[in-house]
Symmetry: D4
Subunit: 219 residues, 8 copies
């Protein structure tokens, strides 16, 4: 935990039994276990195994958090904006939001405001900036154009989170990732396709650092 | 010429002597020779060879048009908007504009209005639409996000023209092309990277067809 | 609707319940809901949910249109040719045709006339041109050679629509798309692999613009 | 020589001195040395070194053949058609023709008949078939569509020879090669981009085998 | 049939009903229907539908031939060698052999003689050459090295047939195809990965042409 | 400047005259012009043109900053670590450092501490953390492994900056970028290959935000 | 067996019946059959068929070894270290270990010590070197950084074994393989993604050669 | 030097002055400096700078070794075979040989024995094995088939060294590397394209380890 980031169990490459055993380990150690990229067939057995615990399941995002009954999540005061271009990008955006929340941050979401309907973006974005957001995550698949547009409009760092939405050449998030890497709007850095965990942890590390400085100030 | 599109000599793969001989052929036939992707070393010899003719050279765009003194370009009444995202994309945008102009269209250009400075786009774009533009070409390199943004804002067909500006992964226009292919704004079709000739001819075929229908109307 | 193009629900990345809810929204707003890339398991539930409506299902094309009983489709007078290279390309061609039809265009189809049997192409193509077609969509997988051939023969703009037919290197439509991007026949622009929706909307925007000019004329 | 194919010195990766020494070796052994992909700076030194020999240089094709004065090329009676799509593809087509000629075949060429001007193809192709051609090589860059078109029209085996003409995505012959691999016209096999040597040898092995059978017949 | 090559129904992209209808068409026309890349679920319905006919099924090769009871296959006298590198490559090799056989050729097969056990190759290959083979097909996946080795050893044209055997980088036949395209043994041309149909037709066109010349001789 | 990030002139795609004119514009507006990716031939003319100004040239990094004599750079109090894996990565690391410095940050550099000599890393890294660094940029080419190693060791956000050092498959920075995108150490986000400008601006936006919060505190 | 490496049956591309028949062949010949990449549905039938034999099944590694009851495995004295970066990489590491063990080597494993938790590596690695290991296999997916780190720390040859763990760009082992190919730590050679068999045989050939020299010494 | 491998200066990315300074450092420390991938323009200045030293230059391999006059190279007794497929692959093979020699190994070379002339391989290979070679490096470009062939024939570990010889798809060593990764001959591991340094060090680490065991034996 020295890193300031929780360990996350990558569910996709593990047997349910292995996940259960690793989750027990984390629950004993830290009071909480976070599992990402769960295979559908693992969800029910996990919920059954941990029915004495508080279990939070994000089905679409394929993520789960298990808390020891006495677990209390700290609040850091960091504030993160999470924006999605399409409705199809919401599950990945939610994975990022979940991880950042588990790291103590406050999350404000703005969904389905991609470049095909850009007019829906400006108002909510202005409000977000007014609320002193520390960093913004922008999830986008297909053309992946939204993160560049947002970065061109805001004075805070932006994390581009490409999603695997899209088919044909450049599909499965490839075009989205490449266009973010090629951005002409400075201040955008990226994580890999569908890597909500990485985006969430990076954003929370930034927001929590700012929050910590703020806190010292208010003392 | 039945196609409605002029023959264009691809200069890059030909010796100067070969270009001169092909240009003479076209000048005799149609009164005009258009050469694209000229190698720098071919420009001076061509200007010397054709000094008795009217020669129009676009150095940055590496394009040249040679007219027989008596050549008169027809005006079709088609109207095409040509937009560039960065200043680096202007030469390719100009190649497209040149070809479309040679096909009789009126061109309105809006340059350097990419997503890093989107506020510069809205005004000129509104004006362009007010002038009843028939089709818009949007040239963009690097992130190639502008064509999707424009297509989301206008009710006319848009031709995406990726340029080879940009380095690193997805550089040389690859990310720009892929993001255009993956556009979530319907009404965008694309040509290959740096293919100003293709974009110009396609746009002019569209604009001239609309213009032709308009003309019949005004008779 | 200001765009002149209908909103299309992308079925592939959504739960059936989500599609139903979005369809109800569109039906209330515009009297019609178009869904593309439906997963097979969504078809029956949708037909059941909307049995009080008129439902048009294109099973092979995985597309569905739902109309409010009182919905009347406008006719714009635009005319689009839709050509397929093989019989395997027909579903994608039909997706494009469906969208363009929903945008008010008249469609003429020519199917299974690819370069392995080119002699079957010339007659129907000549007829199509005689009927004053405004724009032609050519769907082709595998070698994707047909759009270049057609573009070389006609004086109207052509939209290349690569399909994911084909296996091995360059399979799944990649070779088809690349060969269209590399066309040496000017006047061809392309959309992404299997993007019948994009091809249909682009073609309809063109055809409707021409039709509008024609209409003004006949007034 | 048991293979029925001559050894060809690949000039591009060798110092001039090394080429000269290998050429002397071949001239002593077989009376002839063939060099392909010569670097421009090697041509003059080679011509000087071998001025006592008969030297045939194809500058554009970057190929050279050196004959001992007493060398007499055999005639096998094999007949090969060599077709090029564009004028830019002619040098590679000529490399193929040269090698096949050196293997004793008769060559008939048809140049600049690509799919953008298909009507120029049909006449000469009919004539070629009337002359009992044994195999056809079709060189094409950019869209690489011509080999599939030709294969769909003729009853003899066709060798597709992609050339590195073309820029942008799929440029440098990649799209051309992929579309040939994806051909829907049966009877087309391919060699690598710009590999005129490979195409020429393959075609000559086929033609010479047929010719040999024919010869036996006429005895 | 003028092409000298039979029409082959590509089963993978078609519904069983569509295949049945196309097969009936071919059976009426030519007395025989060949289907390739059959989906497993289509096999039984086809066998049931055509039980009054002679049906030849190659399950592993996913191919089927249906003959009208009175159908008699011609024998051309062409002779083709079909070699496979591994046992996993045999189904694709068999698809090629089947098509060539249906075009009237005699087939000699040599299986499982790849470069990891090269000593098993030399004997059978020498025998094959002794039997005056006209052309050789070499099917190989994984490293795809065998076609180059064989081409270096024989004086007849070789068709490289890469198979999709192999995993990891360059897997699914990509490395096999690329190494064949890069061959340093002249006389090798290739078809796409798993394209047994293409290899078979190309080889048969060659062999039948030689056979025809031979026949004329023996008259 | 509202963005908090300076405009940077991309020198690589512009004529010297164009750069001079854009630099004059920036100098008038903000008192400073930053130019990146300068072509070697532009350096001297720029130094001559602006000899009345203070000019800072980083030859290896191909970057230049020109200051109006009265220009005073603000100090924000942000602190950024810049680490390079090899000596070959230093120029790109310096480009990032320069931009961040121009945005008012303090920079601490640690160079040539890649995974082939990891023992050289630990001491300086511990010191860096002791100095309360806000964010770390890690530049690495070839295997690009260092950013993941550093991210696994520190509790601050890390920006991975792949460089184009390296040849063969995955060369020119591709493997470096991919391995960073695939990092199993959470908290690493990346910019494109050689994009020191992007890394520098992103890091400075983060550091300046933290610094701003700190400042408020100390008031 | 002259190669010093056992024949391994590749299960993935074979029917169960085919595997059984090949296994019987090997058991008769050498007393042992090794099968890799088994499809899950083949495991039970094989265990049933060979219940009179000793069967060793590694379910996660999808590998099986069948021994004739009288089979005695030789011990060569070679010593191989097998390291995995993550827990997800263990099955591939185990495949390599199994093969090397079957070739008579002693195996020491160190699992789950990747760069995100590097401190877990140093102790066990020091111990391994103290035990005079002859060669080390390092299995890693995702970022694939561990083999370079290990190679930088040890004086013995290292075999990099990339695994297909990881998603997004560079996923399925591609980034892992590329970063190993680009290593800046000399002494690392690699096998393909998930190729535990190749890594195991290579390592065992090395270790056994050293062991053989050692043995001669101790006589 | 603890690694048992010398430090090698990568010349390609460094200024001559930087190389000279690093070479002086190594000469002081170890008495020897090895430089690889030298740019041609660095060779003469280096020879001039170090004329008081013994300088060994391999021009084609772009490598240089500088020895302090008193430097004595150790002999380990390790024995390495270095094989090249073509004459064009010799420079890369020589780079590998040079490095291994500098690590104290004895080298036996066999050049120009690729699969197009396989008969030239068998004799020399048999001799090499008779001389108790410890490990074999096989350098090959174009089809890269030779390493698999050699690995199938010998009982020692083989290092595949792909070279950048070859053009077209899979050119510049890509096909060669992929085919080696896909080898069906167990016991082959690879280094990156043109990485003679990596191949040489890996082979020497193996050979020296075996030699060390042998030495102990003879005491
Ligand atoms: N080294 C660099 N890398 C990436 N982007 C840059 C670099 N230098 C400048 N830029 C940006 O690239 C864009 C170039 O646009 P333009 O000069 O208008 O074609 C601007 O948005 C610059 O901020
Ligand atoms: N800049 C350009 N981009 C794409 N195609 C072009 C360009 N200029 C000319 N062409 C076309 O490229 C083809 C070249 O054919 P050829 O000159 O016969 O090799 C012709 O079909 C031209 O119309
Ligand atoms: N969704 C995710 N995306 C990327 N990395 C993850 C994800 N979930 C867990 N991880 C990390 O992936 C690694 C998995 O390693 P292991 O489980 O040991 O194979 C750990 O470092 C996790 O922190
Ligand atoms: N233009 C060419 N394209 C492809 N292969 C060639 C060409 N010219 C010669 N070769 C072959 O390339 C190989 C070069 O081998 P080497 O010269 O020994 O490196 C020989 O097998 C030649 O037959
Ligand atoms: Mg939406
Ligand atoms: Mg600009
Ligand atoms: Mg058909
Ligand atoms: Mg032409
Ligand atoms: Mg076998
Ligand atoms: Mg260093
Ligand atoms: Mg782990
Ligand atoms: Mg040679």
């Amino acid at each position: 935990q020295w890193k300031g980031a929780p360990e996350v169990i990558l569910g996709a490459t593990k047997e349910t039994a292995q996940i259960i055993s690793m989750a027990h380990g984390l629950l004993e150690g830290t009071g909480r276990a976070i599992i990402s990229r769960l295979r559908p067939e693992s969800i029910l057995p996990l919920q059954t195994e941990f029915q004495a615990y508080t279990v939070r399941t994000l089905a679409a995002a394929r993520a789960m958090v298990i808390y020891r009954p006495d677990y209390i999540r700290k609040q850091t005061g960091g504030h993160i904006g999470v924006i999605s271009a399409g409705t199809s990008d919401i599950p990945v955006a939610e994975e990022a939001a979940l991880i950042a929340e588990e790291m103590g941050c406050r999350i404000t979401t703005i969904y389905d405001v991609g470049v095909a309907g850009l007019h829906r973006l400006f108002g909510p974005l202005r409000e977000l900036l007014a609320q002193e957001v520390d960093v913004i995550i922008v999830a986008a698949g297909m053309d992946g154009a939204l993160p560049s547009v947002v970065t061109g409009l805001v004075p805070v760092p932006v994390i581009g989170l490409p999603t695997s939405i899209g088919y044909g050449l450049g599909g499965n998030g490839v075009a989205a990732l490449l266009t973010m890497l090629q951005t002409c709007a400075p201040g955008l850095s990226v994580v890999n396709i569908d890597n909500g965990v990485g985006a969430g942890i990076t954003a929370a590390l930034i927001a929590n650092r700012v929050a910590q400085a703020r806190e010292h100030q208010s003392q």
